[in-house]
């Protein structure tokens, strides 16, 4: 179930027949085919092209992040998956079924195999934790005894068995989201949609909730689609990522590939959020454009890829015989790849700088000269 399939992008699918029947392994959980979503002008407000030319697939059993700034079209995209909205053009195939073509009772039946969790949890204040989890089962017409057993199972799964009779107003944010997750999983869906599910939580609770989602993905094989504007969420949980900007997919693929070699400015800006491209103020304020007597040249190296950063300073110093100074460093791990930057001080004359840059380019480590410090 957890096979890593790359996201197919940029191949418009003309007809449903073209993608079905699909060979095993190429059969995605969700496929967007030629999707656009236009909200028509209404009461003096102009129309909005929320989504355009959306063609990509979400692999079965994957955790796929959909990241974008607010207004990028993330919410529209996720609402197409569970049929809460209809595309203006194109089809949305979920688990082999064209959900965009369903309506009424058929749509409601299909929606039971798609769970969703929300930023503000959306729990019923009039129901206890257990009764909130029971709601989708009541709607699906389960027998009382079956509901009771299933709810107990779900409360244990999300780790709040002791909160059975608590009302949402008596629960913390993290506990509320656990109830939300249990409720979304109640009818054993094959897809779990997460719409900014951790955006209202503190960092520690966010981590716990993301760990829970990772467990659910691993143990139940549920495909998870994470809608978020936070790079840290994608980094911690997702294996695949789709970057949305202004209603279009600007990049998609493995998290490690996308974020070690970001091509689009939006992707680069998301990356900057986690690796902090800016220099420490104390260092930045000391950098000058003319070399002071006895000063060092400041060189910044972009670190991208597995193990790329860990030995570079030592090897550089040894192979070139330079007393390299480490001025600032920030390296993080995204999808098992090192991503970050090292800022070095190179002593000696211009010759040492030239040799250093040549050595770095030999190892495909992008570098730039920022100036000099005394």
């Amino acid at each position: 179930m957890n096979a890593h399939q790359s996201l197919a992008i940029g191949r418009p699918i003309e007809t449903l027949e073209a993608i079905s029947p699909a060979p095993v392994g190429l059969d995605p959980m969700v496929r967007f085919a030629g999707i656009s979503k236009i909200y028509p002008a209404y009461r003096g407000k102009p129309g909005v092209n929320a989504l355009q030319d959306i063609d990509f697939a979400i692999p079965r059993g994957s955790i796929t992040g959909v990241i974008g700034r607010s207004g990028a079209g993330k919410s529209s995209l996720v609402r197409l998956i569970n049929g809460l909205e209809k595309p203006t053009t194109g089809r949305v195939i979920v688990d082999g079924r064209d959900i965009s073509a369903l309506a009424g009772r058929e749509l409601r039946l299909a929606q039971r195999s798609i769970g969703m969790i929300f930023q503000h949890f959306n729990l019923l204040s009039s129901r206890t934790a257990a009764d909130n989890i029971a709601l989708p089962l009541e709607i699906a017409g389960w027998a009382k005894a079956d509901i009771k057993a299933r709810v107990a199972e779900l409360l244990a799964l999300v780790g709040i068995a002791d909160k059975h009779d608590r009302y949402p107003s008596e629960l913390s944010g993290g506990q509320k989201q656990r109830v939300g997750i249990a409720r979304a999983l109640a009818t054993r869906p094959s897809v779990l949609l997460s719409d900014e599910a951790t955006s209202a939580l503190d960092p520690q609770t966010t981590r716990a909730i993301l760990d829970l989602l990772a467990n659910i993905n691993r143990e139940l094989g549920v495909t998870i689609v994470l809608i978020t504007h936070e790079m840290s969420v994608v980094r911690q949980l997702a294996k695949e990522v789709v970057v949305l900007d202004a209603g279009r997919v600007v990049e998609s693929g493995h998290v490690a590939d996308i974020f070690t070699h970001p091509r689009h400015p939006i992707t680069q800006s998301f990356l900057a959020e986690v690796i902090g491209d800016s220099l420490p103020v104390s260092l930045a304020s000391r950098i000058v454009s003319e070399r002071p007597a006895g000063g060092q040249a400041v060189i910044r190296i972009q670190v991208r890829g597995a193990g790329a950063g860990d030995t570079v300073v030592v090897r550089l110093a040894r192979e070139l015989g330079l007393d390299v100074a480490l001025l600032s460093a920030r390296i993080d791990e995204i999808g098992g790849q090192h991503v970050g930057s090292l800022t070095l001080g190179i002593p000696g004359g211009e010759d040492a700088v030239t040799r250093t840059l040549a050595w770095l380019s030999q190892y495909q480590l992008p570098a730039e000269r920022l100036g000099y410090v005394a």
């Binding site: 129901r127 009541e138 709607i139 949402p168 109640a186």
Partner: protein
């Protein structure tokens, strides 16, 4: 105060309770579904029917803007048709119901609209039908507001019921006007007012208590 007068007050109190009680029941029976529909039938809502919504809204507003005493007189033929007579407490229930239905409908509409739209979306996302959303989400979530709305309606009905004395409806208001005002018996007027104040107080306290009991939103730890 003579026993006869006290008997009059007791009888009038029961007449008032009878009129208000039945009118509140009927007003809720008609007003609750009407209010639910008004709250869910605008463009893009659960039972979207924008034109019907508009028309019903205008009818509701028209009924609510007609002064109650004029409504009572204007619908006398209709009252006679429904109740068989246009005089007495039973007849008075007809205009009271007609006046309270749109009032309750608007209060219900407001209470239902208070329910977080995200909950409707949530229920839809796991395949709830519009009726399931009404009965499993909207009404339970709006229940505290609905109970307060009903309390307000009953209190208003007590006020309205005083006016139906004008067409022989009986009740406390009628007693107050005929004995207290027209026969210059200030002690009778005072007694009527005291009973009305007590009734309103009891209704309001009971409503507040029930609404608080079903409200799980504010009960914190």
């Amino acid at each position: 105060m003579s026993p006869e007068l006290i008997n009059l007050i007791i009888q009038a109190t029961f007449e008032s309770l009878y009129m208000v009680g039945i009118a509140a029941l009927l007003g809720t029976a008609f007003g609750l579904p009407l209010g639910l529909f008004l709250a869910t039938s605008r463009k893009g809502e659960l039972f979207a029917a924008p034109i019907v919504n508009r028309v019903l809204g205008i009818v509701v507003n028209a009924t609510r803007s007609t002064p109650f005493i004029i409504l009572v007189v204007a619908i006398i033929p209709f009252t006679r048709l429904v109740a068989g007579t246009s005089i007495g407490s039973t007849a008075a229930i007809v205009p009271l119901t007609i006046a309270s239905t749109p009032f309750i409908a608007r209060l219900v509409e407001a209470a239902i609209r208070e329910v977080d739209g995200g909950l409707i979306e949530t229920a839809s996302s796991f395949g709830a039908s519009p009726l399931q959303i009404v009965f499993k989400v909207l009404i339970p979530e709006a229940l505290p507001g609905l109970l307060l709305a009903l309390t307000l309606a009953v209190v208003s009905l007590l006020g309205y019921s005083a006016m139906v004395g004008a067409v022989g409806g009986g009740g406390l208001g009628d007693l107050g006007i005929r004995y207290g005002y027209q026969r210059f018996m200030p002690e009778m007027m005072l007694a009527v007012v005291v009973v009305l104040i007590a009734l309103v107080q009891i209704v309001q306290s009971a409503g507040d208590y029930l609404a608080r009991r079903v409200n799980r939103r504010l009960r914190h730890r």
